[in-house]
Symmetry: C2
C-alpha cells in the first residue's frame, strides 16, 4: 500500500482516486451495481486493482462515494426547503431536473439501477430518499407527521416515476422535454401532493 497522494488531490489534479471514481460511475451506470466488479473498474480506470483497495474499503464504499459526491441532498435541496409552500412543487422539480441534467446523471442512473438491483440496495436507497431527500422537500410544511409522510411518499412516487421514464426508459416526449415544459406538466401534481387537499386528511 502506498501513501495516498494527498497533495495532488488537494490541488485538484486527476489522481488515481478520481480516475477510479470516474470509471466506477460509468460502469455502475451502464451495468448496475451487482454486475460491476472492482476488477473491471480498475481495468477501466487503467490502474492496478490494488489501487482500488487502497482508496476504498470495498464496492459499497466506492459506490457511496460515486453517489454522494455529485449529489449532496443538503446542497441540492437547501434552497427548496426555504421556498414558500405554494411554490414548493415547482422549486423541487426544478432543483431535481437541474441535478439530473448535470454531470451527476451517470451516478444518479447508477443509483436507480442499484435500487432496482436487489432488496438490500432498494432498502438503502429508500433510507436516503426518506431521510435525506423528502425531509428537505417537506421542511416547514404544515401537518402531522402522518400527513407529511403521506405527502412525501406521493411526491416520491411522481418524482421517481418521472426520473425512471425520462432518464432510464427514455419515454417520449418526457425524455426530450425541456425543464419549463416538465414544470408546466408535472409541477401542479407535485404541488397538489405537497399542499393540496388529500382524502382522509383534515
Amino acid at each position: 500500500m502506498r501513501t495516498p497522494p494527498q497533495r495532488g488531490r488537494r490541488q485538484g489534479r486527476t489522481t488515481s482516486r478520481e480516475l477510479i471514481l470516474g470509471s466506477a460511475r460509468k460502469l455502475f451506470a451502464e451495468h448496475g451495481y451487482a454486475a460491476t466488479s472492482l476488477r473491471e473498474i480498475a481495468r477501466e480506470a487503467g490502474v492496478d486493482p490494488a489501487m482500488v483497495h487502497h482508496w476504498f474499503t470495498g464496492k459499497e464504499e466506492l459506490f457511496n462515494a460515486c453517489v454522494e459526491l455529485p449529489a449532496d441532498p443538503a446542497q441540492v435541496l437547501g434552497g427548496v426547503s426555504e421556498t414558500a409552500a405554494e411554490v414548493r412543487g415547482e422549486a423541487l422539480l426544478r432543483a431535481i431536473l437541474v441535478l439530473w441534467d448535470s454531470a451527476a446523471q451517470p451516478a444518479l442512473l447508477a443509483l436507480l439501477r442499484s435500487a432496482a438491483g436487489s432488496r438490500a440496495q432498494g432498502a438503502l436507497i429508500r433510507q436516503v430518499l426518506v431521510k435525506r431527500v423528502l425531509v428537505r422537500a417537506l421542511a416547514g410544511l404544515p401537518g402531522s407527521q402522518t400527513e407529511l409522510d403521506r405527502r412525501g411518499a406521493l411526491v416520491a412516487s411522481q418524482m421517481i416515476g418521472l426520473m425512471v421514464s425520462r432518464y432510464l426508459l427514455r419515454v417520449e416526449p418526457l425524455a426530450s422535454a425541456g425543464h419549463d415544459e416538465l414544470v408546466a406538466l408535472i409541477g401542479p401534481t407535485l404541488q397538489h401532493y405537497l399542499t393540496g387537499p388529500l382524502p382522509g386528511m383534515p
Copy 2:
C-alpha cells in the same frame, strides 16, 4: 433431448417446464435478469440444466415466458379500454393494482428490475409499455397523436413511480395502503393526465 410431455402439460399437471418457470420468476425477481443464470434456475427447479434448454432457446425466451404468462396487457387492460373517459384513471389504476397484488407480482418485479438493469432491457420494456400498455389505456380518448403520446407518458410516469415506490422501494404509507386509498390519492392525478387540460394543448 426428450420429447416434451405434451399430454401432461395439456392436463395441467406440474411439468418440468412449469417448475422451471416458477423458479425463474422467483430468481429473476430476487436477483434481477442479469444476475440470474439458467444453471441457477435449473438448480432451484431441481431439474437438469439440459431440461431448461429443452424448453427454452435461452434466457431471454425464458424471461419473456415469465413476463408474458401472468400479464397479457390485452386481458388486463381490455376492460379499461372500454370504460368511459371520465373514469378511465380510476379503472386503469385499479386494474394495474389488482395485477400487481396477484400471483404475477414476482414476474412484474423481475420486469422492473430488468428494465433498470441495462439500456437494452430498458428499451425492450419501453416498447412493451408504449405499444401494449399505454395504447390500451388511451384507447378511444380524443386528441391528436402528439397529445395522446404526451398524456400516455405522463400516465406512465405516475404509474411507474407508484409501482417502484410501493413494490420495489416499499416507501410507506404507499407500500401498505389498500387499493381504495391509492385510488383516492392518485386516481385524480391519472385522470388529469388522461383527460384534463394540459398546458400547450388546445
